[in-house]
Every structure is written in C-alpha cells, then in structure tokens.
C-alpha cells in the first residue's frame, strides 16, 4: 500500500513536470516575451525601450534556459525557466504581470471559492444520487421516463442561462437575495445561497442521468437477483446492495473533483461577483495576465493529481477487496 502510494506520488510529480514544460512551451515559445510585451503595451506605445522596461519589471528579460553571464549555479537558476517554472514546485508563485503577489492573492481568494463550491458539491451529490435512485427504483415507469426527459431537457440548457435566469428570478423579481456581491462572516449566507442553488440545479440533468445509468447497470447483475430471490424488499436491495456496489464508479468521478473545489467556478463567481479563484482567473484572462494564468494552470493540475491519488485511496475504503501492490 505505502509502496503503491509512493509510486503514484512519483508519477504525479512526473505529470506535473510535463504540465510545467507544456505551459512553458506554450507561454514562451509560441510567443516570445517580446510578443507579450507588445500585446500588453498596445500598438501605439511600443518602442524597443518600453518593451525592455516591461520585460525587466516582470523578470522576463533573462535568458530562457541558460544564463551565460552568470556563474556557477546562477547559470541555470538566473533564467526565466527557473524563475517562472521551476519555482512553482516550491509554491513560489511570484508576482503577477500587474505586480501583485499571486501567492497572497490565492491564499485569500480560495476561501470564498470553497464557500460556494463545497456546499454546492455536497448538496449536489445528495440531490443527484437521490434523484437517480428514485428513477432507478421506478424504472420503466412513467416517472422514470419523464425523469429522464427532464434530465435531457435540463442538460440542454447552458449554464449561463441558469445563472442569468436565477439572478433574474431570485434577485430581481422576488428580491430574495442580492444579485451579486460578497461579504464575510454570517452575512455570506445570503450571498452564497443563490450561487450554490444554481450550482446544484445546473448539474442535475447530466449527473442524475449518469448516476441512473450506473444504478441500472448494477441492477442487472446477478447478486441483485440473488438478493431479490432471498426475499429482500426492492428498497432494501436498492439502498443496501446496489448503492454500495455502485460506489466504485461513483467515487471514480466524484473524488477527483474534491481538491479542484478550491479552484472555484469560473462563470458562477464572475457573474455573482464572488472574490474567489474563479473570478480571479477570469479577470486574469481578460487582462491577459499571463503570469496568473500560468500559475492557475499549474495549481489546477496539482489539485487534479492529488484528486487522482485520493480516488485510489477511496477505493480501499468502500471496497475491502481492493488491494494495491
């Protein structure tokens, strides 16, 4: 078990190195720092001096891989690659192209993100699985049929419309919650209620249908027939046996996203003005702040790799047969 975990961790580090090289190539080879400077400064103000100044202020003036002018370790460490990419592994995020400290921004902005994402995730899981179990329980009846129709209909609506519609109904028409904004403490609840609700509702269609498929697949297996043959009630079969055995496919999809909850929801946060990492990313994209985007890409993959390892661990919790070697 420990040996397996260590191997997974090493593999995860290799994945992160891959991500790192990929983003470095994307951000420094497809376009050189000069190109970025020109794009940032705008066509009118581009002079060679301005470009050099822009690069110097942000540390892009160094050579990419090998600094001939330095000596000793400095030949490798005093480069763009080391500064901007290798240091990410030590979670030294440096400063954004606007000069703000990215590490500080992330540590303050991840909590509002989590405050939206965690309740939405937990309530969502409960709602989706209950709805799916309900459809599986009444399978091949009108309830199941119309349930699936509702799911397909709901998954055909863009998230944007859920948000706009929700803001209009709850915020503007019924005046129940503020349309957007955020505040700390208990005050946060009234700002969070709508984003959480919309996060849950917008996911119902796709998720409930997906879980229903998983349950129906389990229901057609032999052990279910055995359970029914020994006289168990359908409800008991479903909740006790099917649900437990469906945990592996459910966990495969669910556990991976838990660490990513920190990253926040891009669209929801920017619509509701929640100062989380999602809106941070959106702002960075619209301001073409390459440093922030690069850090977020790296952070996202770190969290994903953690999620993968957590998924493996969770298998051993729900299924005693799973042994890693």
């Amino acid at each position: 078990m420990t040996g397996y975990l260590i191997r997974r961790l090493i593999y995860g580090v290799f994945v992160l190195i891959g991500v790192n090289v990929l983003t470095f190539a994307l951000f420094f080879f497809v376009n050189t720092p000069d190109d970025m400077a020109r794009a940032q400064l705008g066509a009118k103000r581009v002079t060679p001096e301005a470009v050099e100044k822009w690069k110097l202020e942000r540390g892009y003036h160094k050579p990419l891989f090998l600094n001939e002018k330095s000596s000793g370790m400095g030949r490798v460490t005093d480069t763009v690659f080391f500064d901007k990419s290798v240091k990410l592994f030590a979670f030294e995020f440096g400063s954004s192209d606007q000069g703000r400290n990215i590490g500080y921004d992330i540590s303050t902005r991840m909590w509002p993100s989590l405050a939206v994402q965690l309740p939405a995730f937990l309530i969502g899981l409960l709602v989706y699985i209950s709805f799916a179990l309900l459809m599986a329980f009444f399978r091949a009846t009108a309830l199941d049929f119309w349930g699936v129709v509702l799911c397909v209909l709901m998954m055909s609506v863009s998230t944007l419309f859920y948000i706009i519609g929700g803001q209009f109904l709850f915020g503007k028409l019924w005046n129940l919650v503020p349309i957007s904004g955020y505040n700390g403490g208990f005050d946060a609840i009234k700002f969070l209620a709508l984003p959480v609700l919309i996060g849950v509702v917008s996911g119902i269609g796709g998720n409930a249908r997906w879980y229903r498929t998983i349950f129906l697949e389990e229901i057609s297996k032999d052990y279910v027939r055995t359970a029914r043959a020994k006289g168990l009630s359908e409800a008991r079969v479903l909740f006790r046996h099917v649900l437990q055995n469906a945990m592996i496919p459910i966990l495969t999809g669910v556990v991976v996203v838990i660490p990513l909850l920190f990253m926040g929801a891009l669209i929801t946060e920017s619509f509701f003005g929640i100062p989380g990492l999602g809106s941070y990313t959106i702002d960075a994209i619209s301001q073409q702040d390459f440093a922030i985007v690069r850090v977020m890409v790296f952070l996202g993959s770190v969290l994903y790799v953690i999620g993968l390892i957590m998924t493996d661990l969770s298998y051993t919790l729900v299924d005693p047969r799973v042994r890693f070697s």
Binding site: V19, T23, V152, V157, S158, L260, Y304
Partner: protein
C-alpha cells in the same frame, strides 16, 4: 473579365465544412452497401425521439450550410473595372437580406413599431416632444400603428401559419403516398398507420417535429419582412438574424473540434491498447498530463497565446472576416487537442480487450503486420465507440462555445455566435426597463439545437452500443 455579379470566396471553415459534408455522403454510400453498418443506422431510424430530433437538426444543418457558401458581391463598376465588396456575404445573408439591411437605431421590442427608448423629437411646427420614435423599418407600412398593429400582426401571423400548415399537410400526404407505395396498401390505410404509430419507421414523430417547426417558422417567416420578430439589439440589428447566423458558428465548432480530435484519439488509443508496455505507458502519461490541466484553463492559455500571435501578425489576415475565421479554426483545433483524452482512454480499453481475441491472434500467426492488424482488424471494431463519441460531443461543444465566449477566449468578438449574443445581452437584464429578447432568442435557438443534438446522440448511442442492444433484445 468576370461577368458574374459576385465572386465566390472559400473560407477555411467553409472548406472544412464541405469536406465534412462530402465525407458524410461518402460514409453514407459506403455504409449503405454493407449490412453490418446499415443495421445500427436503421435502428436509429426506428427511434421516435431520434427521428424527431433528426428533423429539427436537419433544419439547423440547412441554415448552417447555407451560411457556409460565401461570396463577395460586385460593386458598381468604375472606369470599366469590376471591383468586389470587401464585405463577405453568405447565401444565408442573401436569403435574410431584408433582416440584415433593415437596421434600427437601437433597442426595439419584438414586433414593435416604436423604439424602446424615448427620444427628443422635433415636430414639424418646431415644438420638441419626448416620445418613442417610430421604427425605420419595423411596422413601417402601418399608417396608424396604435390601431392597426394588433390586427396586422395577427393577420400576417395566421396567414403564415396557414401556409406553413398547408405545406406540412402536403408533405404528410406525400409521405403517406410513399409509405403506401412501399407497403402496397392504400394511401388512406398508410395515413392511418402513420398516425397510429404502426409504421416501422416512426413517421408520426418526424411529422410531429415537422409540425412544430412549421408552427414556429410559418408566422416568423410571414412577419419577418415587416417586423423585427425577435426585436433588435443595442445597435439596432435584428435579433432573429443574429440567432440564425449563430447556428453556423455553433455547428462548425461542434463538428470540426471533434474532427480535429479524432486522429489523435484513434491513433494513440488504438496504439496504446495494441502494443501495451512502453508505448502504452508513454501514451497514458501523455493523456494524464493533458487531462490534469483543467479544461477551461488549458483552452484559455492556448487561446490567449493565439490572440497575441494574431495581434502581432495582423498583416497575415487581410480582412476581419478572415481573421475571425482563422480564429474559429484555431479554437476548434485547441478544443480538439485538449479533448481527445476521454475518447483515447475508451479506445485503449476496447483495444486491450480486442487484441486478446482469437481472430487477432490468428492474424498474428499469419504474419500480418502490426499496422495492418490495427487498420484492418482493430479499427473497424472500435468504430462504434468513435461514432458514439462524435455525436455525444457535439452538444457539449456547442454549450462550451457559449461559456468560452463569455470568458473571452471563444470566437472573435466580431463573429456572431450564441456566446457573443449572450455575452452582449447579459447586462440588459439589469437594465430598466429590461431588454429580454436577445437572451430569449439565444435561449430558444440554443435549446432547440442542443436538445435535438442530445436526443439524436442518445438514439445513435442506443443503436451502436452493443451492450444496450443485447439488453434490448433480451427484454
């Protein structure tokens, strides 16, 4: 000397779209001659929801294809030389000429005769009043809009509806005649069969979908030349025109992105499953790395870099339409490159199973080369997965376009798409009085497109998935 009053212009996306059409026709001809390929498609045609969805999709595809034939109209000749307009038009633009040309000043509500905002106007006698000015085009034929408007709209709407239903009825009768000819029964018998759902192919569902289309399109077509059926947007452009133009953008992204992804997924997935060992490790590492980056972020990073490239190399793109088109293709490529991992994983798993089967072992024993085994013996047997992925991804990509355009990493802002429509309209909900029609139009068109695509994809999946077919046969 060119005598045509226009010059065809083939954009990159046009070329790819028509290539795709050719490929689909080629595949249809190929599959028609082979019973094992025809069987799943005939199963699709027996699904009621699938047929209904196919009818609606066909209407969207028609609009998308019309919008994929571009030309430049000739300008009035000067000094005997023919010059062509810099602005690109499509056949759809030609069909929607009245909608495109009739621009208002700013917002106007659906079917309105007056602008949505009060303006100070100068009366002929020199007095100034603040009132809602008449529209330049919407309902301009009405002498007294207050009294005539309701009657005119109802009359035109009903006239359009009647014509549409008449056409629909003709189609239904023609279909009965065709069914009658096939089955050898009389027309009346076939008509009854269709409506009682007794035909092998569920024509009833298809006709119902066609009726829904007629009920919607009839009045709209009748009213569109005289009113702005879905209102106008901030700069006075007809919203119906925008919604129809958005269809092509969505369809191009939905199809071309999957097309880009296909070679990667197919080749790497099959190779990983077939060779196992080192090759498998490498490919698995590649797709774990790519899929570990949250999708939107990877797309955003790539699109940002593309934007910088386009900005710095503006001279490569002679006109804004060409720039927008190149950006659309680049977006498709980026979406494709970032989304092949899912399908690759499925194909790898399937190939792992297939390679252990006897017929592959036999091929090995006969000394068939690896490449040939993969191409001739493995590929055809994973094609059902590819087909399912192709249709399932479409709706997701159309939805993704809207989100990406909102984030600012989607299509070019000058290109009309559902995303840009929603993006420019989202603040209008907060406006007093509210402007809701842009969003409503985007919502209706997008829902119809995505819902039809989802239903059709379900029908295709049910028909192609061997496990589901078996379960269906047992039941």
């Amino acid at each position: 000397m060119n005598l045509l009053p226009f010059r065809f212009e083939l954009l990159w996306t046009d070329a790819l779209v028509w290539l795709l059409v050719a490929a689909v026709i080629g595949y249809a001809a190929y599959a028609r001659a082979r019973p094992h390929l025809r069987a799943p498609w005939s199963r699709v045609s027996r699904s009621a929801s699938g047929m209904a969805a196919a009818v609606i999709l066909a209407a969207f595809v028609l609009a998308g294809l019309l919008d994929s034939v571009h030309y430049r109209p000739a300008l009035p000749p000067q000094n005997g030389k023919v010059a062509y307009a810099t602005e690109l038009r499509s056949l759809l633009d030609l069909a929607l000429q009245p909608l495109r040309v009739k621009r208002e000043k700013t917002y106007s509500a659906p079917l309105a005769t007056h602008l949505y905002a009060k303006e100070t106007m100068l009366l002929p006698d020199g007095r100034e009043v603040r009132d809602f000015p008449r529209l330049r085009h919407g309902g301009a034929h009405l002498k007294n809009p207050g009294a005539d408007w309701a009657g005119d709209v109802t009359l035109r709407g009903f006239r359009g509806l009647a014509v549409a239903l008449l056409i629909w009825f003709t189609v239904a009768v023609a279909l009965s005649a065709a069914v009658a000819q096939r089955s050898g029964n009389g027309i009346e018998q076939s008509w009854g069969d269709i409506w009682r759902g007794r035909t092998a192919i569920p024509w009833r569902a298809a006709l119902c979908a066609l009726a829904a289309l007629a009920v919607f399109a009839g009045p709209v077509i009748a009213l569109a030349p005289h009113y702005h059926v879905f209102g106008t947007d901030k700069v006075g452009q007809d919203v119906l025109y925008q919604a129809l133009k958005s269809i092509r953008t969505g369809m191009v992204i939905g199809t071309l992105a999957t097309l880009v992804m296909l070679p990667f997924a197919l080749l790497l997935g099959v190779m990983a499953g077939y060779f196992k060992g080192r090759v498998d490790d490498m490919i698995q590492y590649l797709y774990t790395t790519l899929s570990s980056i949250p999708g939107v972020l990877l797309i955003a990073a790539a699109v940002l870099m593309m934007q910088v490239y386009i900005e710095n190399n503006a001279s490569l793109f002679p006109s804004s339409e060409i720039r927008a088109d190149v950006r659309l293709i680049a977006l498709c490529v980026i979406l494709g490159v970032t989304s092949w991992t899912g399908l690759c994983r499925l194909l790898r798993g399937e190939t792992l199973k297939l390679r252990e089967l006897e017929y592959i072992q036999a091929a090995h024993a006969f000394g068939v080369s690896h490449w040939r085994i993969m191409m001739r013996h493995v590929m055809p047997n994973v094609m059902h997965i590819v087909m399912i992925a192709l249709v399932m991804d479409f709706s997701g990509l159309v939805l993704a376009e809207a989100v990406l355009s909102y984030v600012g990493v989607g299509v070019d802002p000058s290109m009309i798409s559902f995303g840009t429509m929603i993006n420019s309209a989202r603040l209008e909900m907060a406006r007093e009085p509210m402007v809701w029609w842009s969003l409503a139009a985007a919502f209706v068109f997008m829902l119809a497109l995505v819902l039809a695509a989802n239903l059709f994809a379900d029908a295709v999946r049910d028909a192609f998935d061997p496990r589901l077919v078996r379960a269906g046969a047992a039941a």
